[in-house]
């Protein structure tokens, strides 16, 4: 194809997106659109898969059967969400094995929030409330993204995600209504998860390299800063109901702009964790890679059995 032909195709493509048409896997698309989608969708899928690890840590120690079945169901949903997203990503011509290889080699990233440890039961509450809360804010606009399979997967993910946040908040509520020690545990979890949850919504707009292009392709409908503000505004009253305090002395209502002002985020910490120096990066990758490697004989045996029965 000549450069002029590509330019024409690109112009038609951009017009389709501007017109709110969906792009399907076999449609012509600019190479950069394909690559950007593989990057973002796989990163999203990897986050679901790695996201099972901090919570899986507490399934066997959940304080009641009610909490245990809920947490099991939540973690199972995350496996499911990872699978929806991997298959949507594969429609762009990359194989599942390549995607896993990118995760295991560290070439692909996953959300840095999962590199923090879950040291008390209250962390499971805080994750559901804050981490899933931030994830929902990120994901709801993606139900309208331009790439058809991604939008379809996100519709299903969002439908299932609301239970995750509610079960987390209920855990926090129970702790906050409990003994002094239990409430202190909830406060401690909020102290540790608040700032990482804010970072989860991504670098500030002036630092975000992908925002402009992603907005154009409707891969993003709101900027990171807008999403973060929305998250803070809706979460502060929720903390008030719990009766615990958000660990930010600069946090205060700004009547003029109709939203909260908040303190400086420690972006050095964010970039350190992204670069692999968070508290649990190595532990997470090790758990993931060893699960994959130790399961190899099962996958091979299943395939051998299938071949034999053909």
């Amino acid at each position: 194809m000549t450069e002029t032909q590509i330019k024409i195709l690109e112009a038609q493509f951009e017009a389709r997106i501007a017109n709110d048409e969906k792009i399907e896997p076999k449609d012509w698309m600019p190479e950069k659109y394909r690559k950007t989608h593989i990057r973002q969708m796989s990163q999203h899928a990897h986050s679901e898969i790695i996201g099972m690890l901090p919570e899986g840590n507490w399934i066997s120690r959940a304080p009641s059967l009610r909490r245990k079945v809920a947490l099991l169901a939540k973690v199972q949903d995350e496996a499911g969400h990872g699978l929806y997203l991997y298959s949507a990503c594969e429609t762009l011509g990359i194989t599942r094995e390549e995607l896993y290889e990118q995760l295991h080699s560290g070439k692909a990233k996953y959300s840095s929030i999962f590199n923090y440890p879950t040291i008390t039961w209250a962390d499971i509450g805080a994750i559901g409330w804050l981490v899933d809360g931030a994830a929902i804010i990120n994901q709801v606009p993606l139900c309208n993204t331009s790439f058809g399979p991604y939008a379809c997967a996100m519709v299903r993910v969002c439908k299932e995600e609301s239970f995750h946040q509610r079960q987390g908040y209920e855990i926090m509520l129970t702790l906050c209504k409990g003994t002094v020690e239990q409430k202190a545990m909830a406060q401690d979890a909020l102290n540790r998860w608040w700032w990482p949850a804010l970072m989860m919504l991504g670098p500030t707009d002036d630092q975000s390299v992908h925002t402009a292009q992603s907005m154009k392709w409707k891969l993003k409908r709101k900027t990171n800063d807008e999403l973060r503000q929305q998250f803070i505004d809706q979460t502060v009253p929720q903390a008030d109901i719990l009766g615990i305090k958000i660990p930010d002395s600069d946090l205060k209502w700004n009547a003029d702009k109709g939203s909260y002002d908040f303190g400086e985020i420690d972006w050095d910490e964010f970039w350190q964790v992204v670069k692999g120096h968070g508290p649990c990066n190595k532990q997470r990758m090790k758990a993931r890679v060893s699960a994959w490697e130790n399961g190899a004989w099962v996958r091979d045996a299943a395939m051998a059995y299938a071949e034999k029965n053909k």
């Binding site: 449609d27 949507a88 094995e97 379809c152 395939m303 071949e307």
Partner: protein, 109 residues
């Protein structure tokens, strides 16, 4: 040397490297409705594909029946040919009831 390698039964090396194929999943949400494409997944064989489809796509009573088919068996039309495939239908307005001009007083038609 080559001949010897070929004589080794197709166990070890060959099968070890074979990845689980991709399957397409279709779910009927309730009786009276068609099966609809829900997504895809990887599985070693059709039984496993059905079981995985149940776990991945019907965790909340989304279905009463599941079909799975290995993706390689699906022949899909190419969007580049959409013109020749679908455009001819566009100018055949006489296939639609509104094409026929009938008096207003005519009822039940």
């Amino acid at each position: 040397m080559e001949i010897i390698i070929k004589k080794i039964p197709a166990c070890a090396g060959n099968i070890m490297k074979k990845n689980w194929p991709l399957w397409e999943v279709f779910v009927r949400s309730k009786n009276g409705l068609d099966h609809r494409h829900f997504g895809s997944l990887h599985a070693a064989d059709e039984e496993m594909a059905l079981e995985n489809a149940r776990d991945v796509y019907t965790r909340r009573n989304e279905g009463v029946s599941i079909w799975v088919v290995e993706s390689k068996h699906i022949r899909a039309s190419n969007p580049d040919n959409n013109g020749e495939l679908f455009e001819p239908a566009k100018d055949k307005v006489y296939r639609h009831p509104t094409f026929y001009i009938l008096p207003d007083e005519l009822k039940h038609m």
